[in-house]
């Protein structure tokens, strides 16, 4: 996956978006191979390649406009998810994500839209496309970052529910035992529940902060951070589901 993502990024989005145009007309080369990496300053400051004809330029411009528009839609979707109070983001994490999306990403991408509309050369288009990709990383940083933090914070919230439940379960077991009930199975399930919740807490400890620390400039290296975070939240998810089964088990045992 890393190789795929890295290599994709090396190719550069603008050239990628023009792939269809190039395929239509192999002789149309938007930029020399040396300057195909959108991150290269020299590439974006070079004059428009003479082969970027007026017709091709218009199509390229349209492609970049669509790419910007897609990012605006994506950012608004992310912002809606962040603003949704039912997802149990911590106030601090919600604020961080809101700031990133509303004050950095959206204004940045929206600021590029008039630039692209007003661009008259392939070089100008390349500068805007480069910025769109490398400065904001909407799909490979902002998106997984937002969704991973939402999951991690929801897990932390559920861990809190379990912690509250633990004392109730302990009392219920004690109460049942006081009434002469055999609580051996309930105690075993309760003990497992505590272990599972503890494991989930370890898996999610500091995870949101680590994911939130990732920036567009850290791509593509921070992809590994996201993959590791995914492993942690998946482990925590499994722990919490097992803990839930334990809780149901205790409840069943005590009501028999």
């Amino acid at each position: 996956m890393k190789r795929t993502i890295s290599s994709r990024m090396m190719v550069g989005v603008l050239v990628g978006m023009l792939a269809g145009l190039i395929a239509m007309s192999p002789s149309v080369v938007f930029a020399a191979p040396g300057s195909t990496i959108p991150g290269s300053v020299s590439g974006s400051s070079q004059p428009s390649n003479p082969l970027c004809s007026t017709t091709v330029f218009a199509k390229a411009q349209q492609q970049v406009e669509m790419a910007l528009s897609g990012r605006v839609t994506q950012l608004n979707t992310l912002l809606s998810a962040v603003n949704d109070t039912s997802n149990h983001l911590t106030p601090a994490d919600r604020q961080t994500l809101q700031d990133d999306i509303s004050n950095v990403e959206l204004p940045g991408i929206e600021g590029l839209q008039p630039q692209v509309q007003q661009a008259t050369t392939c070089a100008q288009l390349r500068v805007a496309a480069h910025s769109m990709v490398f400065a904001y990383r909407v799909y490979v940083v902002m998106t997984p970052q937002t969704h991973l933090v939402i999951v991690a914070d929801r897990e932390i919230y559920i861990e809190g529910l379990f912690v509250n439940l633990e004392s109730t379960i302990a009392s219920a077991i004690q109460n049942a035992q006081g009434h002469g009930k055999n609580v051996t199975a309930a105690e075993a399930a309760y003990s497992d529940l505590q272990g599972q919740v503890s494991a989930a807490q370890n898996a999610t400890n500091g995870l949101s902060a680590q994911v939130l620390a990732q920036t567009p400039q850290g791509a593509p290296g921070n992809w590994q951070v996201f993959l590791a975070a995914r492993t942690s939240i998946t482990n925590a998810r499994n722990d919490l589901h097992t803990a839930y089964s334990d809780a149901v088990q205790v409840k069943t045992d005590l009501t028999r």
Binding site: R8, V11, V13, V133, A172, R237
Partner: protein, 91 residues
């Protein structure tokens, strides 16, 4: 002798009147005093009952709440997995 008896009767009547008066006011205090325990007892019983009732209710509610949250968690995780398994675009 008769005067003595009369005096004794008057005195005892007076005392009983006083006692009655005291008893009345005392009884009102007593009512007030006994009220709190009377109300306190049901309150205490109620709180004990609600505690034990809410224990089982709370138990069910929280377990159900956790179950619902785990369902939402799975949905969120699916979205996050989708981002990482098939990122949209290259950037």
């Amino acid at each position: 002798m008769t005067i003595r008896k009369l005096a004794a009767v008057v005195l005892s009547f007076g005392i009983s009147l006083m006692l009655a008066a005291c008893g009345t006011s005392g009884s009102s205090h007593a009512v007030q005093k006994t009220k709190p325990p009377v109300t306190a007892a049901p309150t205490s019983t109620t709180s004990t009952m609600s505690a034990s009732a809410s224990s089982s209710t709370l138990n069910t509610q929280i377990v159900s709440q956790v179950g619902a949250q785990l369902g939402e968690l799975d949905n969120s995780l699916t979205t996050a997995n989708s981002d990482l398994n098939s990122p949209r675009g290259d950037s």
